[in-house]
Symmetry: C3
Subunit: 436 residues, 3 copies
């Protein structure tokens, strides 16, 4: 059954959106960065590669940029493992810029230039209302017609970087069905928080970007409702790997599984981030900091100082969490640590749980309690904890997302098979491919 929210594109998931300047002045070869990026492969290569002929390239270099894209795609396009979607210029408030964008697409897609066979689509920045999205769509339709390409064959992705564009996310599902446009070509909805911050006139004391949780939610929801894929914008503190990971974890909890990457190093991190870990782990959370416990022979040991635990008389315990001390009996202690603890399941664990529920369903049960228990050690004191979650059909299907993503990556990125096997071992990869 095909429905309006089915994703129409080859990729059901996109983890990485990697931009490269198209022409840099002062180099012997202004296409040097482009040429190098085109030759990335494996875990360093993005799912979507974006030769960026807009903000990353100086305005004076953009004509040369288009020629560079054509050269590099003609030469290396066939070997690029991900999809290729150059960003052209566009602005909702400037017909001049929109016409330049049209000309850039016309040039990129000209079969005589030899790049179009490697071109999966284009990225349109600075869109406004849905009517502005339609203008870009119409130009692409004209380009397709002019060059004898199939209507709708070039994908269109947009950068959501204005309040108007954010509002348009609510109209997409309805507008995409209309016969007077080809908006079914839409592929990625990418947040552009830098320009969005400007458009919203936001200020932070440090000049860092605001977190914009509502924008990311609305983008993810728009993607969900219209069968598209949501991508977060650039994380510009390029040395802060931990911060980049925190941002991706936050995004993933919003259903935004892909992110912009500015460097090959960021591509590696972003390609790996949404995949489940090989090993499960227990965490304790104190004062919003999560501390991973050390696994020692089926016990999980807390080695920080923020939690202190001591046995008192009569089977009672003194527990101090972040400087706040309480005396508890053993049940209360177990409950208290359970509240602080959480478990991050491995790829293996996820598959196991799914199978357990499948068996229960076979046996005529609609819902079962799924238990997870552990022995946690704090200051030498051992505490058994155990928690229950109700699983029903919906829980089961929600748990499937990381598995589906894993399978999508494996099918579409043969160049990453070796990396996946190195990360998980060959056996686990094979089992993950048949599950679900």
């Amino acid at each position: 059954m095909s429905t309006h929210t089915d994703r129409l594109h080859d990729r059901k998931f996109v983890r990485t959106f990697f931009t490269t300047p198209t022409a840099v002045k002062g180099e012997d070869d202004s296409a040097k960065m482009l040429r190098r990026a085109a030759q990335l492969s494996g875990i360093e290569a993005p799912d979507v590669w974006v030769p960026d002929n807009e903000d990353a390239t100086a305005p004076s270099m953009r004509d040369e940029g288009i020629e560079n894209i054509i050269d590099v795609l003609s030469e290396h396009g066939a070997d690029v493992p991900g999809e290729i979607h150059p960003r052209v210029v566009w602005h909702r408030e400037s017909p001049e810029t929109r016409y330049q964008g049209f000309q850039q697409i016309l040039e990129l897609a000209d079969p005589e230039n030899g790049a179009v066979e490697h071109l999966d689509g284009v990225v349109i920045p600075e869109v406004g209302d849905i009517d502005d999205w339609k203008k870009a769509d119409e130009f692409i339709t004209i380009v397709e017609n002019e060059h004898g390409l199939e209507e709708g064959s070039l994908a269109m992705s947009v950068i959501v970087e204005s309040g108007e564009a954010e509002l348009a996310l609510g109209d997409l599902r309805e507008e995409m069905g209309k016969p007077s446009n080809n908006l079914e070509r839409l592929f990625l909805l990418v947040d552009g928080e830098v320009d969005y911050t400007k458009d919203m006139r936001a200020i932070t004391p440090t000049g860092e970007l605001p977190p914009w949780p509502e924008l990311r939610h609305n983008t993810s929801r728009g993607a969900s409702a219209a069968g598209l894929i949501a991508i977060d914008g650039p994380y510009d503190d390029i040395r802060d790997v931990e911060g980049y990971h925190e941002r991706m974890t936050d995004n993933q909890a919003k259903g935004m599984l892909g992110i912009w990457s500015l460097t090959p190093g960021q591509v590696v991190e972003a390609n790996k981030s949404p995949l489940p870990p090989k090993e499960g782990s227990w965490l304790l959370e104190v004062d919003d900091r999560e501390i991973e416990l050390e696994a020692e022979d089926d016990h999980y040991v807390y080695e920080g100082d923020a939690i202190e635990l001591e046995e008192a008389a009569d089977d009672r315990y003194k527990l101090s969490v972040g400087g706040d001390e309480r005396e508890l009996d053993s049940d209360e202690l177990s409950q208290e640590l359970l509240n602080l603890a959480s478990y991050i399941p491995s790829l293996n664990d996820i598959v196991d749980s799914m199978e357990e529920f499948e068996a229960a369903k076979e046996a005529g049960k609609g819902a079962i309690a799924m238990e997870r228990s552990a022995t946690i050690v704090v200051d030498g004191v051992e505490v058994e904890i155990s928690n229950d979650r109700m699983w029903d059909e919906a829980t089961y299907q929600a748990a499937q997302t990381p598995i589906t993503l894993f399978q999508d990556v494996y099918e579409n990125r043969p160049d990453q098979h070796e990396d996946l096997e190195e990360m998980y071992g060959e056996d686990l990869v094979e089992r993950a491919m048949v599950v679900g």
Copy 2:
């Protein structure tokens, strides 16, 4: 004056939405759980009881489930203290499922089956666009007509568990007025975060549900704009009472005063949660943890370790908060503790404040400063704190919500009178019923 946002249903507030599997395989009596749930009363009985013929019941058991609902309602329906709204099957992407849902409603509402007189409405899961909501509404209209029921007499509640349905929340107010539908039958807007998480393709490291604050906001806002009632989805860590309470407090601050309950234990907690406490209390907040102070003869004593206070020379004080020490004079100290402190008013306190404002209004004042002061004791040092809030007409009306909820509960749930009197004392219950 009747307006479009007036709530058209008997209940203006719903605290609890309790689901029960309709047929469990392998039991002597597959309706055992249903039969037990139907006989709950008092604080263990929900405001809305939902025999769940969808996710909580295995697909192979759902025909039997409908018969069980009919049996149990015929036998016990008259004694169920809350409203009864079974959940039938439905899916925005499956006409087959939708037709099954129609047949289930047709069967439940058939007067010959003897259950319809106890049936307040039905719950439709997995709705999509507003046009999908209309399909369900139309089926209910047909059922009503077929069985000689008054048009609009069966309420319809929906589970919001897709991006599309979330977007539909913005259309409700406009669509409900149209003559071609009976959407005025809408009653509850219930978030279904598990399926929503699947639909949004979100991932969390631990597999816990994301918090989805924007979804809950949009649901609450949709309810407010269309005169409906917003309910949060299931909290599946059923042993984590503290976590359930935190979730309810968070919901209440969004205007979502009701929540799903999976067990009678959760029903008890959820029935009590939005009611004001009997006794007021002072809190100090350090590092996002709120510590309730011990009341001792009009003094409020802090007994934790996260705050330390010591008198120094010359009427100065050393205050250490979470490891960060400062020297302050007595005014600064008082201001600092005031910033950390907050007061949770009792039912009594709320009534007192409302009366004080009413008196001021009588005297021609539009706004007054409302003062609250206390003596707080940290490490033996006594500190007087006092804060002011401006109250105007709007503040007064906003403060009234918990009182209105209390009165709605008292009027609609005679089976809980005893519980309320046990919680608050008879006098306080009487006074709370005449206030406002």
Copy 3:
């Protein structure tokens, strides 16, 4: 080029929205507060002054309130340094109240009363759907026509304090273009969280207002998409200056640069808040608390207790953050402190960075890495930290907002020149006015 999101009003930014009761019973002169507020100037005077004939004034005093506004505007209006926008009565659910509001505007704008030449617009509270906004707009059009004023010359600001009004924010951009209304007169979108809390039926344990982040986001986005200005509602704990500042910082990160003020003291804080500081400063953030470091000869010294640092053998370090201790080498230490640290740039710093990027752009670069480094001292140990941010055209433009705001204030508020020069020094003010 004029576009639909250009702001059509004299002020591009409004920092302060100061309400004053129009008539207080029991005083010799019921207009005393109004008269005093009209004579504020400099940093104590708001950008927008709102004689409040709605919630701040008792219903019985509102006729007198209108006369008082007329008297005070006739006498002092010419000297009021900000704009003047009285609030009249209105309610989406009461035609009676709406008609009263119409009569109040008719009276205020009557040229024979001598106040209209000082009247910049009116504030309409309690609006509902966009159709309700149009009713108010139509009344103002009629008033303009009746009194021979230019159509659209009176601005209209609204208080968003219902779910319906929040939904209307999504329709504004489309509706404002229609020939059948004059909604181009819209100026401020002001959140009214007290009434909104009532309308949403939200409850908090302490009775404090919920933070409503989504409402503020949607208001700011609506303003951005329609060329209007977003203002946050009243902060009613009037003694809590720190809390007021935190709220404003939070608002600014949402693009909501203005806030309601209830007292001249709040006006001072709110006028200063969105302006960049004179001196830059380094912060360390531990457990969500940000500690400003002391500058000593180019070193920045941490003086709190939440972070402890000690040199161990072999060029290794023991770092304890909030009770969690780790041993690190010098690179890890530097990275760790970098993660905790952030820099708040001064007006000067912002200008410097903008110039550096402009030079790079001239040289044909579309993006450059902007470095900021410092020596941080914890427990006597010196640590060098350094971070990089990628700047491109968009970063540059986003950084410009505080400068544009500064320039807007300087141009529109000559009465604050002295205050600005006192805050920043004459030289810095001059340089800030020519930058960008």
